[in-house]
Amino acid sequence: MTEKPLNNRAWWLVLPVLLFVLFSALLPIMTVVNYSVQDAMAGNSYFWNGDGWFRDLLNSQTEIGARFSDALTRNLSFSFAALFIEVPLGIAIALCLPRTGRTIGFYLVILALPMLIPWNVVGTIWQIFARADIGLFGAALTGLGLHYNDTQDAVSAWCTIVVMDVWHWTPLVVLLSYAGLRAIPDAYYQAARIDGASRWATFRYIELPKLQKVLVIAVLLRFMETFMIYTEPFVVTGGGPGSATTFLSIDLVKIALGQVDLGNAAAMSLVYNLITITLCWIFFTIMTQLDRRGNP
């Protein structure tokens, strides 16, 4: 046989992956798409609704549109608040950690502990911790004469959720930054000393540029997670008081499972998904472009 043996049976090897993707991603998404363009009535009867659900969702004059835009605003505010605190704080803590020595393992384990706690447990811990009557955090703030009550006051509820997220996830930024800092060769610090650079200049011109790559990862991870946050606020505040901490995911569950309003919920989850992907893409592009700026 002089012909090159051609055997297409190898494609069968891809089948398990295709099946997996089909059942884990494609089918659920298509189900959602299906609901988003139809109106489902009792008894499994469906009526074509075209882009009706999407029109309602994106029109803030409608009830669902107003809910959606409010929740989206809350989500964005929460994400930016969390990023704004967690990234600088994480870098600052990483800078304070010793570069070498025996104690570093201890510090890293202590820092990483919050990350090992499951979301709903974190929520429960903070739910109790923040109670104004018996919680250490809440009672201490009340004892200091501050007006604090996370079940009645929106500002208190917000502060609790943000502080909880900072407590839970700043360690991730610390670990990433620490790894990035450790990757900087000693010669850079030595050169900076010889060049007479101040501590700030060393940070600004050596450490920060070298951290850029890990910070892209940190910002992306933290943005995605804060934008999709569900469990902790659900456990701590249940979305309240009122709808003060009702984020998109919480609202989505309320609409889909509470009201069984499948058309609205489907349209909302698709738009929600699209916004997450778009924002991540924008972040990624900006931060990597920043990195490439000046390339020939």
Partner: protein
């Protein structure tokens, strides 16, 4: 510009120690004269970078004092010594342009903007970096980056010494030569004290006025390249400098002769009897041992290599394998040959140290 004196400098990583074998750098006294170029040469781990870092202040020596002229700087931090150092891997400030990189050490020291610009322009033209000045430093090649590191050292007019820690390691071989001649040119132009660490003997010998050969934390010899080649003070120097290195063979030295494998080698001087139990060796460069079809010491030729400028033969001298020169015009047939050695170029080493005899 200054003279740098080391007085009894030694260093042990991890603090004070009584055991001399723990010393990364064994006690050393030396004066580095201004305007001269020195090389620290030795295999990896011989303590040359430690010595360099002690001079620059990145490492504080365990014992001893460092003086810049008459000022004791032993405990002064790097930033307060007038030292510039270029590292093995180019260190540049990624986000800055080349000009900002060069200006950085001056701006940190609060120089007025006009003076900074003037100085940066001068140094950039000296290093042929002028066309690159407005480019971002991170996108340049390794040799251009290394020139920037060098420039950041040169740009300060108060620098007493410029230290190099194997600066050409990451440079493309074809550019090494160019950058090295640039260094030489800079040295001549600025008349600075330069200390250059390397494990490459060609780099060391071509760069320096004086070479410091080190091994296991000890300085073996400080001499000009020619002197290192012609009069190695330690068997390691003889072996390390030159290619092939010095022939070093065990011998029994008696007055002005050495007995090697039943033959008697003439020495250029008369030596006192070495202490009992010591290792006695004689050493001579292949360059001073010539082969001929007959005459001189009987050797067996193993292999001859033509290196272009000269021919080197690997020969058996009794049980010892050594190198000798085959002069052009001499043709050897068969294994048997005769070797003549210039008696005044045969040195005696006792426990690896050269000993000196009385001239005959």
């Amino acid at each position: 510009m200054a003279r740098i004196s080391l007085e009894g400098i030694s260093h042990a990583y991890g603090g004070r120690t009584m055991d001399p074998s723990d010393l990364a750098l064994k006690p050393l006294d030396h004066v580095w004269e201004k305007g001269r170029a020195y090389s620290l040469l030795g295999p990896s781990g011989c303590g040359k970078t430690t010595l360099l870092n002690i001079i620059s202040g990145l490492v504080t020596p365990t014992t001893g004092r460092i003086l810049f002229d008459d000022l004791d700087v032993t405990h002064l931090p790097t930033e307060r010594r007038n030292i510039a150092q270029v590292f093995q891997f180019p260190v540049i400030y990624d986000t800055m342009t080349v000009a900002d990189n060069l200006a950085f050490p001056l701006r940190n020291r609060g120089l007025p903007a006009a003076a900074v610009t003037k100085r940066v322009t001068e140094i950039a033209s000296l290093l042929d970096l002028t066309p690159e000045l407005s480019k971002r430093a991170r996108n340049l090649t390794a040799d251009a980056k290394q020139k920037i590191s060098l420039g950041r050292g040169l740009v300060r007019s108060d620098v007493a010494a410029l230290l190099f820690d194997e600066p050409l390691t990451v440079i493309d071989p074809s550019l090494k030569w160019e950058l090295r001649s640039k260094l030489k040119a800079v040295h001549h132009a600025l008349d600075m004290l330069m200390i250059y660490v390397t494990h490459d003997q060609i780099e060391a010998l071509t760069f320096a006025d004086e070479v410091v050969v080190m091994k296991d934390g000890r300085v073996l010899q400080i001499a000009s390249p020619a002197e290192l080649f012609e009069y190695p003070a330690h068997t390691f120097v003889g072996y390390f400098i030159g290619s092939p290195g010095m022939n070093i063979i065990e011998a029994e030295v008696d007055g002005h002769i050495a007995r090697v494998a039943g033959q008697t080698v003439e020495l250029g001087a008369t030596y006192a009897r070495p202490p009992a139990g010591s290792t006695v060796q004689i050493g001579f460069r292949p360059d001073f041992a010539a082969l001929a079809p007959s005459g001189g010491y009987a050797v067996r030729v193993r292999r001859i290599e033509d290196l272009g400028r000269r021919r080197i033969a690997r020969v058996a001298f009794g049980p010892h394998e050594i190198f000798a020169t085959v002069p052009y015009g001499v043709s050897l047939e068969g294994e048997e040959a005769g070797m003549t050695i210039r008696a005044d170029r045969v040195f005696v080493y006792v426990n690896d140290e050269r000993v000196y005899g009385e001239a005959r």
